[in-house]
Amino acid sequence: MPDIILQIKDLHVKVGDNEIIRGIDLEIERGTVHALMGPNGSGKSTLSLVLMGHPKYAVTRGDIIYQGRSILEMAPNERSLAGIFLAFQYPSAVPGVSVANFMRNTLMARHKGDAPLTPAKFKGLLDNAASKLQIDPKVLGRYVNDGFSGGEKKRLEMLQMLVLQPTLAVLDETDSGLDIDALRIIAQGIEAQRSPEHAILLITHYQRILNYVKPDKVHVLVKGRIVKEGGPELAHELERTGYDPIIKELATV
């Protein structure tokens, strides 16, 4: 029996009076990479933020089960400590807080009561992740996302993922706005995270990243519902045809 990490059941989500997620069912097994694709406004980012527990979104129906238990009542930091990670599409800047200091604090949150990480170990962990992503060590002294380019922000999200080693990583359009070299580096980061212990939900608008990271399963989200599912070949089909045929097909049903 496969080890289910994440189980989304009949999920409905509202912002104010606006229903954005309108009944999603999704299962992700340990050791797999799932791609969630869809046009703009389909609810992809909303789903990622709901998984992390953003207070703006209200779950009106259904459930999110992570490793056997519902996480709907859990605060974002509890979800993080339980092993869920979100690579933000638009991460906040934290002026005055260096990347190294920020990472020290993320690790301190995990080592409550335990012996703290030695400075040498911490530095090793950070430097190792930075080199995998070809991040200049100077960046570790800069303030988190403060004046970072789009590409630098995405790499910093990946750096955090590699340091924190989450059980479930949700990557929200981590591939968008990148040139081909940056895309390749991000893909290497995702491959470094991929392991029999981890699960990854890769949210993307374009098929491009999937040339580098082969998903086990592809889901297509349109207007808050998953309308099509398949293997990696589905992504290639979408690359050829775009989302229009699927949207039209839906309209005729």
């Binding site: 992390m52 207070p55 934290v94 002026p95 807080v97 604090n105 949150a109 303030y143 924190l164």
Partner: protein, 415 residues
């Protein structure tokens, strides 16, 4: 918000311990006793100041400059004058270079013209300053720091005050001289009113930090007055953490062509603490530059008032002035008032200002939360970051290193 903080602060002031030292009002005879044996010019200064103090009506919550504060249960009666003892730290190497750190009493013998110059020009005259007038009349003890022309003090000079009621520090930086000076206050008396006189000679450079860490029940007045000569630069950092009510006037006068001043301030306030900062950026010569950044982080029911005046006099063409006040509210009961004032009489100037008051950004909190930090840890880190650019702007790591650590916000008490 206003009324709720009043109610809770009142109960705090009724703490019996707070009232044990209901000090008698300062008497003229006490000033007379102080001046016995002093030079006549100094006696005149003290008497003039006492007259000023008495001619200014006691503040109420309707008095300009006090209206935004909560004065219920706050005892503003003057304390008796207790001598202030400064602990002065000066490296042996700098002492050998001719740097002086001593009491004002001794300096009145060894550096009389300098002390006199400082004491005769202790204020811009633009601030009402009832309690600074009182301090000018009643100071006792006090310290004098002097860096002679062309000398660079290599280590920060530290002046630390633990006791006393009317502390006074005079800093005189000579021409082409350079120094870093930290003045730190740890008094716990009911009432403290201090004076700091900063004088920077031509092309001199002074980095000055004023750390106020007085007792939680202390009423703290501080008056700082700086006179900057041509080509000279003053960088000031005011740190406010202690006191029940802390009211500071910080005046910088740019008197010579090309004089510069960076004025930085940080307040971390909690419980029902009240901080009131009034700043003056006085441009009185051509090509002068001033840059001000005051930030406060306010927790619980704390309250901060900031009033900043930029004055550019008629002859002060090509002046460049900037002023920013940023306030971060960490609790619903906290509040901040901010008020810029510009008086510009020259026509070829650059002058901008900005102010913000707001809570911690919810998206920032969510971002830090998504990385495992609970609300307290996230707030603490955000406040640390909020303060950091002020420390960065000081540009003197030797000076700020200790202050940064001491000023790291402690939000652990939050529920």
């Amino acid at each position: 918000m206003r009324s709720s903080s009043t109610g809770s602060s009142r109960s705090r002031w009724k703490d019996p311990l707070a009232n044990t030292s209901a000090a008698p009002a300062l008497e003229l005879s006490a000033i007379e006793a102080l001046t016995a044996g002093e030079a006549s010019w100094l006696r005149e200064v003290r008497h003039g100041a006492l007259e000023r103090f008495e001619s200014i009506a006691a503040p109420t919550d309707r008095t300009e400059g006090w209206r935004r504060l909560t004065l219920d249960g706050i005892d503003l009666s003057p304390a008796t004058s207790e001598p202030s003892h400064f602990t002065l730290t000066l490296s042996e190497a700098d002492r050998k270079r001719g740097v002086v750190a001593t009491t004002i009493g001794k300096a009145l013998e060894s550096h009389e013209p300098m002390v006199r110059e400082a004491l005769l020009h202790a204020r811009s005259g633009r601030t009402v300053g009832k309690y600074s007038a009182l301090a000018e009349a009643a100071w006792q003890g006090g310290a004098f720091v002097h860096v002679p022309d062309g000398v660079e003090a290599t280590e920060p000079i530290v002046a630390r005050v633990q006791t006393g009621t009317y502390p006074r520090l005079i800093v005189v930086i000579g021409k082409n001289a350079r120094a870093s000076v930290t003045e730190s206050h740890h008094e716990t008396a009911r009432f403290v009113a201090g004076l700091s006189d900063l004088i920077v000679g031509e092309n001199g450079h002074l980095t000055y930090a004023h750390a106020q860490e007085c007792g939680a029940r202390t009423i703290v007045f501080s008056h700082q007055h700086a006179r900057i000569s041509s080509g000279a630069k003053l960088v000031t950092l005011n740190l406010g953490a202690g006191g029940a009510l802390a009211k500071s006037d910080i005046e910088v006068e740019l008197l010579g062509r090309g004089a510069e001043s960076d004025m930085l301030g940080l307040v971390y306030a909690r419980d029902a603490q009240q901080f009131d900062y009034h700043t003056l950026q006085g441009h009185r010569a051509t090509d002068t530059r001033s840059d001000l950044l005051f930030k406060s982080a306010l927790d619980d029911r704390a309250h901060s008032v900031y009033t900043g005046v930029i004055v550019i006099e008629k002859g002060a063409q090509r002046s460049d002035a900037y002023q920013a006040n940023r306030n971060l509210l960490l609790a619903e009961g906290a509040r901040a008032d901010t008020e810029p004032k510009l008086e510009i009489e020259a026509d070829d100037v650059r002058c901008t200002h900005g102010a913000t008051v707001g809570p911690i950004d919810a998206e920032q909190l969510f971002y830090l939360g998504s990385r495992g930090m609970d609300r307290d840890a996230a707030s603490r880190l955000i406040v640390e970051g909020f303060f950091q650019d002020v420390f960065d702007k000081v540009g003197d790591e030797r000076l700020t290193r200790d202050l940064e650590a001491k000023f790291a916000p402690d939000l652990e008490h939050e529920g």
